[in-house]
């Protein structure tokens, strides 16, 4: 991990600093629309570079390379913005006269706004910036990713990265209600209703393996075959012993992997008898 990625990895947010080297120079900005690619993490993904008809995204040596735009070639055609699986490409146009420019944003929500509609422009963290007018809507078509252009003051073009259709105030999630829980122990085995205290108690009494705990507590004996509880029990055992998980036996797995009725099993034998 590159050191300068750490803040993004913590917040999920890019800052103006991260955009350095990703924007055209001032004179190129005036020539026409261009793509801003906010893709900062090397992951195996290349549709943008493959889709560009103008070779305006620098060729990849490796599928994990980061995309960089050759602004001398980029026409702002938005093909890459349509195909980017991460919805991380935005088309900025500040070539027009006057105070206002446009930003084209990928959009996969409903309702899709209409041209002329007022929407709320939002920043990278979703906070409200200002109302803005929709100037163009490209429907999603086959790929289903719509592209929506907003008219935005030029100085805010690198701030606006989302919008929402203006609606009633969404309710607050926080409540001030206080609660005095009777702190029941978390459930570990959903099938047999075995809780964490029971498991910890057995471990404290010297039970050392998944199978021992299964026999004594029934955790893992239910119809799901321990799919939900085994991992938690292993974690508890490892934590208690102060060793890593790979030092433990996974415990037994026995057929059938999924419950099956005796009527069905019994008929299996009859059919063989008929066939032979």
């Amino acid at each position: 991990m590159k050191k300068d990625l750490l803040h993004i990895k913590r917040e999920g947010l890019a800052t103006a600093d991260d955009l350095r080297g990703r924007l055209p120079d001032e004179s190129t900005k005036k020539e026409g629309p261009y793509a801003v690619i906010e893709c900062f993490e090397e992951i195996p993904c290349n549709p943008c570079v493959v889709s560009c008809r103008f070779d305006a995204i620098l060729p990849f040596e490796d599928i994990n390379d980061l995309p960089y735009v050759d602004f001398s070639k980029c026409t702002g055609c938005a093909v890459c913005a349509r195909v980017c699986p991460g919805l991380a490409i935005f088309i900025v146009d500040e070539s027009m006269q006057g105070e206002m420019g446009t930003i084209m944003l990928p959009y996969e929500y409903l309702p899709l706004p209409e041209k002329g509609e007022q929407v709320m422009a939002r920043s990278r963290d979703g906070s409200e910036l200002f109302p803005a007018t929709v100037v163009r809507v490209l429907k999603g078509g086959k790929g289903k990713t719509a592209l929506v252009s907003l008219e935005v003051p030029k100085e805010s073009l690198q701030e606006v990265r989302a919008f929402s259709v203006i609606e009633d105030e969404s309710p607050a999630f926080h409540s001030s209600e206080t609660y005095d829980p009777d702190y029941e122990s978390p459930v570990v085995c959903r099938c047999e209703g075995v809780d964490l205290n029971e498991i910890r108690d057995l471990i404290a009494r010297g039970y050392k393996s998944v199978d021992e705990i299964k026999h004594r507590s029934r955790a893992g004996m239910g119809p799901c075959q321990g799919r939900s509880c085994r991992q938690i029990i292993l974690n508890e055992l490892a934590r208690d012993a102060g060793v890593s998980l790979d030092e433990f036996e996974g415990g037994s797995f026995r057929p059938p992997a999924s419950p099956i009725s005796m009527d069905i099993l019994a008929k299996g034998g009859e059919e063989d008898a008929e066939n032979s």
Partner: protein, 383 residues
């Protein structure tokens, strides 16, 4: 790990633990139990854990009666409060053939004479005890209300806790690798955690008892056969007794948790110590069960597994000191009944080791009977 012991017991199943408990209770000090895995991981934790007094030979009736009476008072005898879940819902044994009907009549007579309160029932009477049984499939039945079944894991724990509190040292995950001899004299045992010198060694290794005997260079005429078992999802209580049939080839019980556990025997099962399962068992067991108890057909099987029956030629145990190696004792060859015999196993073996007389004379269960042509009358009441 300790270096010496007065008695080293090989096998942390219910037999070994019961022997340890009985010895300690009788005042023997410095007892160790050696278990290569965890307690009860062998046949003990894999068995149906039923206990019945309805047998066809006098000795088996007496042995099992001792055990049943022990389990009835287990809580007081163990001095701990572990609930072993001894559910005395009785054993209902169904006769599938005319020969069995006659045999069962003789069995009930024998049992009654020995003070075992079993009764001979018509199919209709059996149906009253177990309404989901298709009574057209049986010719008669016997029933003893004091028979029942236990939770094998809790019973193991109750025994081990009782033994520990009497000073027994139990070593789990400790595998016996050799029996140490000094010339032709017993010296002790070698484990993967070190040697223990002990003048007395007890082979209670269940399915693996022949391997242990081989280490000591003594003959133990037993072999182990895989025996399969399966369990269903739980439902509310609907069957009190363990149902069993010999010619019908089934035992099936509903445990307090609500699951049905059932097994059958099959002569074609392998005898090479493998603990795998087979799909054939699932089919045949389900067929047997749904034929006898059609209502259970909708129950779903959640798991199957296998354990080892440690078999002898007459399907009865060996309680003896090895003639070739004084101090080396066998408690083996339980032929599928080791769990229910555990209390009496502990009693008779501890007396034998201490050179005292036991409440029941088991001298006929010696290891020499297989050579001398002294096989016991075959017990017909087995699955």
């Amino acid at each position: 790990m300790q270096k010496t012991a007065d008695v080293a017991i090989i096998g942390g199943g219910i037999s070994g633990l019961s022997i340890a408990f009985n010895l300690a209770q009788a005042g023997v000090k410095n007892i160790v139990v050696l278990e290569k895995n965890f307690l009860g991981n062998g046949a003990t934790g894999r068995c149906g854990a039923g206990i019945r007094m309805q047998w066809g030979t006098e000795l088996n009736c007496l042995l099992s009666k001792y055990s049943c009476e022990f389990f009835e008072q287990a809580q007081e005898l163990f001095h701990n409060n572990i609930d072993i879940e001894f559910e005395q819902g009785g054993y209902l044994i169904g006769a599938g053939t005319d020969e069995e009907v006659e045999q069962f009549k003789r069995n009930v007579k024998l049992q009654n004479d020995l003070g075992i309160e079993s009764v001979f029932l018509s199919p209709e009477e059996a149906g009253e005890i177990m309404p989901h049984l298709d009574i057209t499939k049986i010719k008669a039945a016997t029933f003893c209300h004091r028979d029942g079944h236990l939770n094998p894991f809790r019973t193991t724990e109750a025994y081990s806790e009782a033994a520990r509190s009497l000073g027994v040292s139990i070593y789990e995950y400790t595998e016996v690798q050799d029996i140490l001899l000094d010339g032709d004299k017993l010296k002790g045992v070698r484990t993967d955690k070190g040697d223990i010198s002990a003048p007395l060694v007890v082979n209670a290794a269940g399915g693996y008892s022949k391997l242990i005997a081989d280490m000591a260079g003594v003959d133990l005429p037993v072999y182990s056969q895989r025996h399969q078992i399966m369990v269903t999802e739980p439902v509310e209580a609907m069957q009190d007794p363990m149902f069993m049939g010999f010619s019908l080839n089934i035992y099936i019980q509903q445990v307090p948790h609500g699951s049905f556990i059932m097994g059958r025997s099959d002569d074609s099962e392998p005898t090479d110590l493998r603990l795998t399962s087979s799909w054939q068992f699932l089919e045949k067991m389900s067929e047997t069960c749904t034929t006898l108890m059609p209502r259970l057909g909708q129950l779903k099987v959640v798991r199957q597994w296998a354990g080892l029956y440690n078999m002898t030629a007459d399907a009865q145990p060996i309680y003896d000191e090895a003639p070739e190696l004084p101090g080396f004792y066998h408690a083996a060859g339980f032929s599928g009944h080791g769990f229910m015999l555990a209390p009496v196993t502990g009693h008779v073996m501890s007396r034998k080791i201490m050179g005292e007389k036991a409440d029941i004379d088991v001298s006929c269960l010696n290891v020499s009977r297989f050579k001398d042509g002294g096989l016991l009358p075959t017990e017909s009441s087995v699955v």
